[in-house]
């Protein structure tokens, strides 16, 4: 619903949810910063999650490190989401360690004009359909994905309905 008139809300005044890390989270955050030092990540805490933003070129390396590291051991990709921030996309990887039971969020930023990001299938096999879906709905190219066919939309659908800019009200299917 992109073309609606501005709503009467007070966006500027809306507060931001602060970090609420427990001790484990703080420790994990320190550890992550230590391990990923070479990638120069931006580490932040949002509520109870540790969020690491890395450059997209090195995403696969980072994930491999996170998965392979004995202490981190993030062997489970919980969720892969694409968020459209109008000028850039954020691809969010929610990781989870089945054995150690901790979680982390890895983010990459993808500029609108150059909507490309490496595929993480080599690290997490289960990212396959997530990436197809991201390509389908947001028009993001996941480079290296073996089969980026439309998943949810039909073949030949025009446009990327996940994006904020998709003109739903002008769109005529028939």
């Amino acid at each position: 619903m992109a073309e609606q008139p501005p709503r009467p809300h007070r966006r500027e005044e809306a507060p931001t949810a602060g970090p609420a890390l427990d001790e484990r989270g703080t420790a994990l955050m320190a550890l992550l910063a230590d391990r990923l030092a070479t990638f120069q990540p931006q580490t932040a805490a949002v509520l109870d999650e540790v969020v690491v933003t890395v450059p997209r070129e090195r995403l696969v390396e980072v994930l491999e490190l996170l998965k392979g590291d004995e202490q981190l051991d993030f062997n489970y990709l919980r969720c892969l989401s694409v968020v459209d921030y109008k000028t850039y996309f954020e691809v969010v990887y929610h990781l989870w360690s089945l054995a150690k039971r901790h979680k982390a969020v890895v983010k990459v930023r993808v500029p609108y004009e150059d909507a490309k990001t490496p595929s993480v299938i080599p690290v997490y096999r289960g990212a396959d359909w997530y990436e197809r879906e991201g390509h389908d709905l947001f028009g993001l190219m996941f480079e290296g994905h073996p089969n980026l066919k439309p998943l949810l939309l039909y073949e030949g659908f025009d446009g990327y309905p996940g994006r904020k800019s998709f003109p739903f009200h002008e769109y005529n299917e028939w």
């Binding site: 619903m1 809300h9 809306a14 949810a17 396959d128 359909w129 709905l137």
Partner: protein, 375 residues
């Protein structure tokens, strides 16, 4: 002379391409598999989804928070309470709302009943998938009893819209406890009957054991969750590993399979029904009195800016919601992590050496709901 056909070349046996679905009795909704078979053996399989894509995630961006709850009812339409709970919890976590005890307990009762109802439905349809027609009647008998409780509590049999951010829409009816006391023995007996009817039937064993094996490593790599992951031998249950609501107060078991075949996936669910009944007994014993809505939650919800990821144990697995809020009364982005979506993806790994008849059994054992897969 074109007579070379009969002499030089052996006749090709036809590798048949079969389109199973979108209209097929056992695809559990509008799901399509293109299967290449050599005789009866599967050579290749390609799944196609998206026939039920309603754009729920995008729709959520245009609705008020409380309105989005109704959309979550329609995702996995046999475990509605669990979906609602996840979304409400996401907002509560973002806003830092403390949900009253009574509401928490009632939520747990509803979610666990919903889990039993969902597994009973699975039980019935799985029976149909292997060709037994009686289990579905047994499953539906008990499911019907649960549905009538749902109706009494929420007013609806399927699309409940019962949980609210900060609590519940209304309190349970006054005779709730009596009804539950009547229901639980019936359910306990019903689950035992279901178990006896099918689980160790010789033909059923022959059809499900060592079929569609998903190894532990594959299950993890594909991101499978819930009964599918547990059947493969991973003791992962969100209720235990990342306890939410009041689940850490109850005592129950997590069933874990040994081989990761169809029988394990089936029996894990049967055991889960028993465990859910145990949980409900404990919840009922501890159910406190008190308010059912947190104080200070307005009708129009404006959570603070930020993003939150909440996951719960849905009957089908790890159901997650990634919510991005921009501080307005509508979500900026809602991403749903549907367990069936990933379990279905893992199905490709289970298809080794399968026969046509096994495809149906394997699909049945994964237990997908396409409302959730396609969203």
């Amino acid at each position: 002379m074109s007579g070379d056909l009969t002499t030089t070349r052996p006749l090709d046996t036809l590798e048949l391409m079969i389109n199973m679905g979108p209209q097929h009795p056992s695809t559990h909704g509008v799901f399509r598999m293109v299967v290449w078979v050599d005789g009866e053996r599967i050579v290749n399989m390609e799944p196609y989804i998206g026939y039920l894509h309603r754009g729920s995630e995008k729709l959520s961006e245009g609705e008020l928070y409380n309105q989005v709850i109704t959309l979550f009812d329609r995702l996995d339409y046999v475990s509605n309470f669990n979906n609602e709970l996840t979304f409400c919890m996401a907002i509560e976590k973002l806003m830092g709302v403390q949900v009253p005890e009574r509401a928490q307990y009632i939520r747990v009762i509803m979610c666990e009943l919903n889990r039993i109802a969902s597994h009973l439905l699975f039980y019935g349809t799985f029976g149909l998938d292997v060709g037994a027609m009686t289990p579905i009647m047994y499953g539906f008998r008990d499911r019907e009893r649960i549905q009538s409780i749902f109706e009494a509590v929420s007013g609806a049999r399927l699309m409940h819209n019962y949980f609210r951010v900060g609590g519940l829409r209304q309190d349970v009816p006054s005779d709730f406890r009596e009804r539950m006391e009547r229901l639980l023995p019936q359910l306990e007996q019903g689950v035992e009957e279901c178990d006896q009817l099918l689980s160790y039937n010789e033909v059923f064993l022959a059809r499900t054991r060592s079929i569609g094996v998903l190894t532990k490593e594959e299950a993890i790599a594909y991101g499978a969750s819930g009964p599918v992951l547990r059947a493969s031998g991973v003791p992962e249950d969100v209720r235990v590993s990342e306890p939410y609501s009041v689940y850490d107060r109850f005592d129950f078991n997590v069933p874990v399979g040994k081989k990761g075949d169809c029988w394990d996936r089936y029996y894990v669910r049967v055991e889960e029904m028993r465990e859910s009944l145990k949980i409900i007994r404990q919840v009922l014993a501890q159910l406190p009195d008190g308010p059912i809505m947190a104080a200070g939650v307005r009708r129009i919800i404006r959570p603070p800016r930020g993003e939150v990821y909440v996951r719960t144990e849905n009957p089908r697995g790890d159901f997650g919601v990634f919510l991005v809020s921009d501080g307005t009364d509508k979500p900026y982005r809602v991403k749903i992590r549907p367990p069936s979506f990933l379990n279905l993806q893992a199905m490709q790994a289970m298809m080794r050496n399968a026969y046509v008849a096994d495809v149906v059994v394997i699909l049945g054992s994964v237990d997908i709901v396409l409302g959730e897969v396609d969203r």
